[in-house]
Each structure stands twice: as C-alpha cells, then as structure tokens.
C-alpha cells in the first residue's frame, strides 16, 4: 500500500503572513502537503470570537477562527511557539502561549497539532534547530530536514528581499504616499488592514509598508527611535519609520484592539516622530468600513491641507 501523504494545516493568520513561504516550501520539500485556511471572512471572525477570551486581541480571535476552519481537514495544524531571536529581539508573549492556548481551546476536538519552538535567549534554540526537531518528530531524516529548511529559508529571504525592493521603488513614485506601520498579519488581513490599503489605493494614495524593509538595517535604525524596544516586529516597524519618515506624506499607526506592544510603542512613536502627520488607527471587529473610511478621508484632507493642496 502506498504511504499516505501527511497534510499540514496552516491557519491564515498571525505568523502566516511572515512565514508562509518558509512553511509551505519546508513541508513540500519533505514531501508533505499543506492546506491553508481561506482568507478571513465573517464566519471565521465570528467563530474565533466565540472561542477566544473576550479580552484577547482581534488578531488572536481571527487566528482561532482559522484554526477552527482547519480542524478535521488535515493531519496536523501548525501552531509554532516563537519566543525570541535573542536578547532584545522578542515576540509578544502571545506567540509564546499560542500552542498551549490552542491545545487547551481545542482539547475536545480530535485534532493533532504540530509545533516548533524558537527561543534563542533562554534555550539557545534557533529557528533551524527548531525546524530540525519538528522534522525529525515527523519521521524525516535529519539530512532531508536540513536540506528542506535551507532551501525554504533561502526562498523566504529572497522573496522578502524582492518585496522590500519593490517597496523601495514605491517611495520614488510621484504622488501622495502614506506609510502603514502595522504587523503584517494586521496589514494584510482582509478583515483588518487590507480595508485600509484598499481604500487608500482607491482614492489615489500610495500605501507603503513600514515593515517591508531590509530587516537587518531596520533593527539597527529602530534604536534611533527607541533604544530599549524589545519586540522584533515592532523594531522592524520602528526601523522602517526611521528610514522612511522623510519619504512619505503621512504615517498610519495601524493596530488591532488591544495589541499589547502597539499600545506602548505607538504612543512612543507619536511622541518622538515629529514633522509628519500621524494617524493612530485601532481596528476592532467592525462589520462595516464606513467608520474607518471617514477617518482616513479626514487624515488625507489634513495631509493635503498641510501641503497647501486643499
């Protein structure tokens, strides 16, 4: 009998937007299949909200909705624990808790979950070690896992570089440019940030992403704005702002309610970044986009007014 292919479910939320290429290429490199949940819709949001603790952030609620959508549709659902990439390079504690949180929320479903743990500071385990451990647990040889990881990582980095370069070109374009400072899973989710960038494009404004920059230089530049910020993604965003604040007409600090790191870092940004209009926009599970559009409209008016174009 032919050996059945293992299918891995990837919830289209949180770290998916950062690691989709790495994950897909890695599992495919090991001869496995991946299934991704559909883009966020009303149903996913509602299911996630029902499963989450009320006070959890919108991003986690959406995530749980995506996990629920995958339950029963794959052998494993991937829920990694990403704690940090070294000192002052942490993730929000929510990325430490997700695997156990998900297991506890879905403990009555007969779903298997797959995890890997990145914790360089305390456990000296980097991403490669973590993937090796996970691949071995899935029954693959160390050699095959290493190869799959290396290839997948290469692909991921190349793709990120390409996207960052594409955005670098955008800064040189004519027209009003607005920098969106957001976690990728907020910026790209159809129920969160995508409504914002879609609207901006519709009214002729060029949205640029603060986090899509060369990560290494962004980490260095983040120190200009905040010397002790320890959250990796916020540091990338801070670095992106520091590098490009003079190339844009306005900045939108786009967060999901009530994002822990954003609540503090965005406050600091509004206190330290001067000379460019800033909109602090916090998204919750709204059913319509009218409220957001009104705020964006008035923000664009402010920019035009400031530039003498209104």
């Amino acid at each position: 009998m032919e050996k059945q292919t293992i299918t891995i479910g990837l919830p289209r939320a949180l770290l998916y937007y950062r690691y989709r290429t790495l994950w897909r290429a890695f599992f495919q490199g090991l001869g496995m299949e991946t299934v991704v949940s559909n883009p966020t819709d009303r149903d996913i949001l509602e299911r996630g909200t029902a499963l989450a603790i009320d006070e959890a952030c919108l991003s986690l609620k959406i995530y749980l909705g995506h996990v629920a959508a995958l339950v029963g549709k794959c052998d494993y659902i991937l829920v990694p624990r990403v704690s940090n990439f070294g000192r002052q390079r942490s993730m929000c504690t929510r990325f430490e808790s997700t695997p156990d949180l998900v297991r506890n929320v879905f403990r009555n479903d007969r779903q298997k979950f797959l995890s890997y743990e990145v914790d360089e500071e305390m456990k000296k385990q980097n991403e490669e070690d973590a993937f090796l451990e996970m691949g071995r647990a899935l029954g693959c040889s160390a050699k095959a896992v290493k190869k799959a990881y290396k290839q997948a990582k290469k692909l991921e980095l190349a793709q990120h570089k390409e996207r960052a370069q594409k955005y670098e070109q955008l800064y040189k374009r004519e027209g009003m440019k607005v920098l969106i400072a957001a976690h990728s899973y907020v910026a790209e989710d159809p129920y969160m940030g995508k409504t914002v960038s879609d609207y901006l494009k519709r009214v002729g404004v060029i949205p640029v992403r603060a986090d899509l920059v060369d990560r290494e230089s962004a980490l260095k530049h983040s120190r200009e704005l905040s010397p002790t910020c320890k959250w990796e993604i916020n540091r990338e965003i801070l670095g992106g702002i520091a590098m490009h604040q003079d190339d844009v007409d306005g900045i939108i600090l786009l967060g999901a309610f009530p994002c822990g790191p954003d609540a503090m870092v965005n406050e600091l940004i509004t206190r330290r970044v001067k000379g460019v209009p800033i909109l602090n926009l916090v998204l919750d599970s709204q059913t319509g986009t009218a409220g957001v559009e009104t705020r964006l409209e008035s923000f664009i008016d402010i920019i035009r007014f400031k530039e003498g174009k209104l």
């Binding site: 504690t93 808790s97 297991r103 009530p258 609540a263 503090m264």
Partner: protein, 359 residues
C-alpha cells in the same frame, strides 16, 4: 557636603515591598530613599490621564506614583526590566515624564544586559560611585532576607486573619511587623522584627473551623499582590472567614524559581507543554495544586489588557471543568470603587459556601 550629594531615589509603591527597597537603597547603596506616597485615587487619576489608553493598569499606577514621588522630592527614579510589557515600561514612563517637564535622573534596568554580572556593578556605581561591592552585597542580601520574611508573614497572615478570636489582635500584630520592616536599619532590626511578628501572630487565639473555606489566588504579578490595586481582595475574603492562599510572591517567583520553573512544569505537562508567559507556569501549577488539594475556589486576578494572564485563562477553564472547582475571573482597571467587586465576591462566597455544605 558629601551628604548633600546623595541621590534621592524612588521606586513606585508595590504591595509592601517598598520597605525592602528602602533598606537596600539606604543601607546597601548609601542613598536616600524617597518613600512615594501611598497609592490613592489621585495616583490613578494622574496615571490614567497621561498614559496610553490600553496599556496594562500597573503602568498607569506606576506613572501616577512616580509623579507623586517627584513631587515628594525624588531626583532619581528606578525602573525594572521584565519579560512582558514590563520590560518596556521604563522607556515610555521616562518619555511621558520628560514631556510633562519633570527633571530627574532615570535608571532603567532595560538599558542593561541583566544576564551579565558586570552590568550589576555598573548599575550600583551609578547610584553611588563610592559603594564597596562586598559590603553592598552583604546588605543587599539583608534586604532580600526582608523580602522573604515579608512574604512568609504575609502568607501566614491572610491564611489566618479571618479567624482571629480577638477581632483585631492578629491584624495589629501584622501592622506592627510592617512598621518594624519599614523602619529597620540593621540586620538585627530585620531579624528581631521577624521573630517578634512570628511570636505575636502565634500568640493570637484563632477560632477556625476544622474545614474552613479555602480559596487560592492566582494571577498577574503586580495586581494579584498589590492590595490597593486589587481593592484589598485578600483582606475582604479573609474578613468573610476564608483561608486565603497565594503562592505568587517575590520569594517564590524570583528567589526560589529565578532560573526557570522546569520542576513546576512537570506536574502540568498534560495541560501545557511550554511556558506560556512569565508567570504562567507558576499560576497554572498552583491552580492545579489548589484543585488537587480540594480547595473550595480559585480567584484569578489580572489588570485589564494583561496579555499573558488572558492567555492562561483557557487553561484555568479546563482545570475548573476537570476538577469541578469554581474560578472567579477578575479584571482590574483604574477603578477606585469596590462596590462592584464586593457584589461579585459575596456571590462567589455564597456559592462556594453552599457547595461545601451540599458536597
């Protein structure tokens, strides 16, 4: 003249630990300690006014109390590092205070790599360049000893004070102990104060039933321990004649389990595989422990928007379901009235009391 150059150091109020901060700052570091005013409604008004909206509540409390400490004459403020958002408190607190126009020196432990021993000497020298490291260490350890005594006496106090047959002596003995710690200047003061308190507490006759109601407290590191922040939850419970048990304190979290809580995780492996947050392993372990030991209820305390504690809740819900132990989840924001809390506590008490009689 040299005396005039001493720093006036302050750190915000945090449960009753400020007596130990005072001891360390004055005895070990040779600076003056400015005791910040006790937390009040005004503290919260100041803190809330200048804080971002959905930062966790201890940030607001500390901001308000730092303003009050500066008004009281502090010229040097200390802020700690931390594994959750606490690690970023320092930079934002300093920025907000500077924007308000206050002038002070700010020692932020997040600026240092606390994994390196050399950094500690740098920090100590910033407080006082003339400190002798060996002498500092001895007196620092005396301050640490005070923390251990404080946690020991406090735990004993909340387990028994509700059953004080004299209606007051037990509380008085505890207050006397606190006074002794806040005024201690030598190792001898600390040791004598502790022994006197132990004797005084043991001397009070208790009127405790054979099977009193027992409630375990778990939750966020600041709000679960700070009586002002949790609206004196432990005293309120104790006054209802409940034995109040709380594992979480500085001694247990840092002094005994400072280098990781591997051995606590052993007993909760079926519930969680990893550390879910800085205090999660201890909280889950203790909740399970209380359930195992047949406690009548659990209370989970956190401040609004505390991410790690929100994430612990699904695990607590499972413990509650498996062991049939009621859990009361309390979220504290900058409210200063305890009417709502009282209603919920009374209802919780009635429920666990009825269950005990029925079961």
């Amino acid at each position: 003249m040299a005396e005039a150059k001493k720093r006036n150091v302050s750190f915000p109020r945090y449960a009753e630990y400020n007596c130990a901060f005072k001891y360390i700052v004055e005895q070990a570091l040779g600076c003056k300690y400015v005791m910040p005013p006790a937390l009040t409604k005004r503290t919260m008004e100041l803190g809330t006014k200048y804080s971002p909206d959905f930062v966790c509540t201890p940030f607001k409390t500390m901001l308000g109390n730092m303003i009050e400490a500066l008004e009281a004459g502090a010229d040097t403020l200390l802020m700690t590092h931390g594994l959750c958002r606490l690690g970023y408190y320092g930079e934002l607190l300093e920025q907000i205070l500077r924007d308000l126009g206050y002038q002070f020196d700010f020692i932020n432990l997040s600026d240092y790599d606390m994994e390196k021993k050399k950094e500690y000497i740098r920090i100590v020298r910033r407080f006082n360049p003339k400190v002798n490291p060996a002498r500092f260490l001895t007196q620092f350890m005396e301050g640490v000893r005070m923390v251990e005594y404080l946690d020991d006496i406090t735990a004993e106090y909340y387990q028994n004070c509700g059953f004080d047959a004299t209606h007051g002596d037990y509380k008085r003995a505890y207050q006397d102990f606190l006074t002794a710690m806040y005024t201690a200047q030598t190792k001898n003061d600390v040791e004598t104060g502790y022994r006197a308190a132990k004797r005084a507490l043991r001397a009070v006759p208790l009127d405790k039933p054979k099977h009193p109601l027992r409630v375990g407290i778990v939750g966020e590191f600041y709000t679960a321990m700070d009586a002002f922040s949790n609206l004196e939850l432990e005293q309120k419970l104790a006054d209802m004649r409940v034995e109040v048990h709380r594992w979480m304190n500085v001694t247990n979290q840092f002094l005994r389990y400072g280098s990781g809580q591997k051995n606590l995780r052993v007993k909760i492996q079926d519930l969680c595989q990893y550390d879910m947050g800085p205090t999660s392993t201890a909280n889950i372990w203790y909740a399970r422990e209380c359930a195992d030991r047949g406690f009548d209820g659990l209370i989970h305390i956190k401040s609004a928007t505390c991410t790690p504690e929100i994430d612990v809740m699904p695990v607590l819900q499972n413990i509650s379901a498996d062991y049939k132990i009621p859990v009361l989840y309390l979220t504290y924001d900058a409210q200063t009235s305890d009417v709502g809390l009282m209603t919920r506590l009374e209802a919780f008490y009635d429920m666990i009391d009825m269950r005990k009689k029925v079961l």
